[in-house]
Structure formats: C-alpha cells, structure tokens
C-alpha cells in the first residue's frame, strides 16, 4: 500500500492504454484544481455517487450560453474545485487549427483555468474544463482577443459542425466547411442567446459516409449527395479485379439496393443508377474506379437525437436533393421555417424529431411548405399508408 490519496483511481493507470488519471495527475503538478478534481473523483468512486452540482451560471456579458456552471457539493473537502466551470469554445470549422492558435488557446487556459481540456466535446467545441466564476469574463476577453468565441449550450442552437469535406476529402459533394461557417455566422444570436424550447443541432457531412454523424446527432442534418450516374472508370474497375478484389462479393452483393452487376466474362460493372440510394459503399471500396455523379448537392434530414428525455432517433429525409450554393438562401429559409414551427409547437425540452412524431409529418410538412415525397417513407414496403388531407383527395363515384 502506498500513501496515495487516490488508490481506486490509481488502478486506472495500469495497463498499456492512455489514462486520464495519469494526465490529470500531470496537470495537478501545476494546478491545485486538478489535484482536487482527482480527490473528489476518488470520493465518488468510493461513495458511488457524483459530487458535482449543476451551476446555473451562464457566464459572460451579453451571452446566455457557452459556460456550463459546475460546483463541488463538498467544497469543505475540495476547496480548489468549489467552482469548476466549463467553457465551450466554438471550434474552427472542420477542426483545422494552426499550431499557434492551439498554443494561444492553451496559454489562455493555463492562465485562467485548470489547464485541462477536452478537444473536442461531442458537440464539436473545444471544451475548457474547470475555472472559477471570477475568471470567466477575463478568460472570455482573452479568448476574444485571440479570435475565439464561445459556442452554444443550454436551450440554444449548438455550435454547428462539419466534416473536413473538400479541404481534405475527395468524396465531398458539397462545401461542408463553408456551409457550416455560414450557418455559424448567420445564426449567431441563436447560439449565444437561448430562446428555444431545447437544444437544436445542425451538422454538415459532405457525403453519406457522414463523418460527423449528422444523421444520429443532429436535429437538422445536411448530407452531400449527387444526382444522376456514378462516374465509372472501366479500366480502373478492371485494375481492382486484377489486383484481387472480389467485385461481386465485396461490392455488388453488399450494395443495399442490389443495383450493381459484375460480369466476370467481359469484366464490366453495370450500375442501375435509378435504384442506387447513394449509400457510398461501392465508392468506398473502389475509390479509383468510382466517383460521385457530376450534379452535386445535398439531402436535408431532420429529427436525429441521442436518448436523453425520450429515446434516440435517427434523422430522416425531408428534402431529397437541394442544390447548395452560396449564400444558401433556400437552406437558411427552410431552417428558419422549421425552427419557427418547432419553437411555436414544441414543449419545453422536446426535440424537433419528437415533436414531429407527436404531431405527425403532415402537420410538419404543411407548416414548413414541403411536399410529401416517397423518400420520406421511413420503412419502405412495411407501411403503405399515407394519411392525406381530406381536401387533397379527389372524390370518385363508386359504381
């Protein structure tokens, strides 16, 4: 037995993998808050309950979000974490930093906070963990000076996020970075001044591989896609076959809509593009041979969320194809109509997807002015019923 104050946590340093305990101990050499953080966590492991209190404080002047207040419920034992607030810093779109920006961010946090960071939180923001109430405003001022702003928290628009898209990825069908940046700038007030029934998330993936998990995590997902035929380079297809790729087994048989045929005899690949649902599978397997179609745009989806309050939902398509070009007026108009309907009808802490499920797609579609289209059928071939508005039905005489 050593005289360690954290014998339970020390267990988590064993083994070959990285350990948050090791990291926080390192921070504790400089910061008493980090030491008390560990000590309080040790007590939680012993008591099997959390010792954090929800704060209430929202931070800095003019802002209603971006700071998440946390207090120890045992400040008598752990005075250095009496207040241990989190600051959410709006990350640069696509998480592209220059190293000097990162250093600046860390210097500011060494000056004002515990030095502990979480890059990045699941919302996307750079999370700065642990500071006191007195440091919030000066820290924010230094962040502003360095060109950073706070992100969203609470019942606000959360910091929009996007995949790296065209900056690094050959599959990008849209400029996810620009769309995300424009959303962030256009919707500033919604991010900083919470007025919604609950959180609202916008995420942009430039293709259906969905590297930011927009489908699972955002109320409004923008997903790059194409119209028309997948671009095929037959010579490259044959090169894959020559290199040993089992095109029938690995590509055609795994196509979810079974719209591809590989002929071993004449070594050609046929795609029935009309049935393709642009899932990206074949392009992922044969990137040199197959490229997205030439007419690019995005599908717009709504309704995704994690399990909190009610169960988790995956988002579903409401606009199969939207051409997305700056200044994205059609997109931002649609977002405004959707948010207004949700704000008007949503209950407190009800997410968009839950509201649509409660009131029905037809109410949603009517309110935001979208037509019902086949792509909205959630489980094709299992529920053929569509409930029409009475006035839309042509009355026919039954003979």
């Amino acid at each position: 037995m050593t005289d360690s104050k954290t014998p339970l946590l020390d267990e988590l340093e064993k083994g070959p993998w990285p350990s948050f305990v090791k990291e926080i101990k390192q921070a504790a050499e400089k910061k008493p808050a980090a030491a008390d953080l560990l000590n309080q966590l040790e007590l939680s492991y012993k008591d099997r309950i959390g010792h954090w209190k929800h704060g209430g404080i929202v931070g800095v002047k003019g802002y209603g979000s971006g700071v998440i207040g946390r207090y120890s419920d045992r400040p008598d034992l752990f005075p250095n974490v009496q207040a241990f607030h989190t600051m959410r810093v709006n990350h640069p779109t696509g998480w592209f930093y220059k190293t000097d920006a990162l250093r600046k961010l860390c210097d500011i946090w060494d000056k004002h906070g515990s030095g502990l960071t979480n890059l990045h939180g699941s919302t996307g923001d750079a999370i700065l963990l642990g500071t006191t109430t007195e440091h919030l405003q000066p820290c924010f001022d230094d962040l502003s000076e360095a060109g950073f702003d706070l992100g969203g928290s609470g019942s606000a628009l959360r910091t929009p996020s996007a995949c790296v898209g065209p900056a690094r990825c050959e599959w990008a069908c849209i400029d996810s970075l620009d769309i995300c940046y424009q959303a962030t700038m256009t919707l500033q007030d919604q991010i900083h001044r919470p007025m919604f029934p609950y959180k609202f998330k916008i995420k942009v993936s430039a293709c259906a591989n969905d590297c930011v998990s927009a489908i699972a995590r955002s109320d409004l997902a923008i997903m790059g896609t194409w119209k028309g035929r997948i671009q095929v380079d037959p010579a490259e297809v044959r090169a894959y076959a020559d290199a040993g790729l089992d095109i029938r087994g690995e590509v055609c048989d795994l196509c979810p809509t079974k719209c591809m045929e590989w002929s071993e005899a004449d070594r050609t690949l046929v795609i029935h593009d009309g049935d393709c649902n642009r899932c990206m599978h074949c392009l992922n397997v044969m990137p040199k041979a197959l490229r997205p179609g030439k007419e690019r745009g995005a599908s717009i989806l709504v309704g995704g969320k994690a399990p909190i309050v009610q169960g988790s939902l995956l988002s579903w398509v409401i606009v199969p194809f939207m051409k997305l070009e700056p200044p994205y007026t059609e997109l931002f108009d649609l977002i405004a109509r959707i948010q207004d309907w949700w704000d008007e009808n949503g209950r407190s802490r009800e997410r968009l997807g839950e509201l649509i499920n409660r009131l029905g797609m037809r109410h949603f579609l009517k309110a935001v002015g979208l037509p019902a289209v086949p792509q909205m059928v959630k489980h094709p071939r299992t529920n053929p019923y569509v409930f029409f508005w009475p006035e839309e039905i042509d009355k026919k005489e039954v003979k």
């Binding site: 929800h54 209430g56 404080i57 209603g64 998440i68 207090y71 989190t86 928290s153 609470g154 919604f196």
Partner: protein, 75 residues
C-alpha cells in the same frame, strides 16, 4: 408597445416567483401572455436580460429564466 410588453413580462415573473419556484422556461412566459405574439415576448425577454433585470439559469443542457434578484448567490 414594447415597454408595455416588458412590463407585463416582468409582472408575470413577479407574480409567479411568489412561491418556491423561481425558474421558468421561455415557453411558460409565452403561455403566460397568451394575447401577445411569441416573438414579441421573446424580444421583451431579451431586452430584460440585457438590462440584467432577468437572468438566464442554465443546467448546461436546459436554459431557464429568472428574476436577477432571485439568482443564487453562490452561482
């Protein structure tokens, strides 16, 4: 017009804060002024926030509104 709405929003908070409950959802406030347009109520609330008559209270995931005088001292 907007001054009158602000006055009524404030009256709502004063009346509702008489009990133990001090924190309210923006939706509660909108419901409390049923004859006023939702956007106008929100605008009035924002002004009162700017004037620090009202304050936000946030758990991190959910945001509430309260009279500044009721905001917890240790927070």
């Amino acid at each position: 017009m907007s001054a009158e709405i602000k006055e009524r929003v404030l009256a709502y908070f004063r009346e509702k804060s008489k009990g133990d409950k001090k924190m309210f959802y923006i939706k509660d406030v909108v419901k409390g002024l049923p004859d006023v347009d939702r956007h106008a109520v929100q605008a009035a609330v924002k002004e009162l926030l700017d004037e620090e008559v009202l304050k936000y209270w946030s758990s991190g995931s959910t945001t509430y509104l309260m009279l500044a005088e009721n905001f917890p001292k240790d927070a």
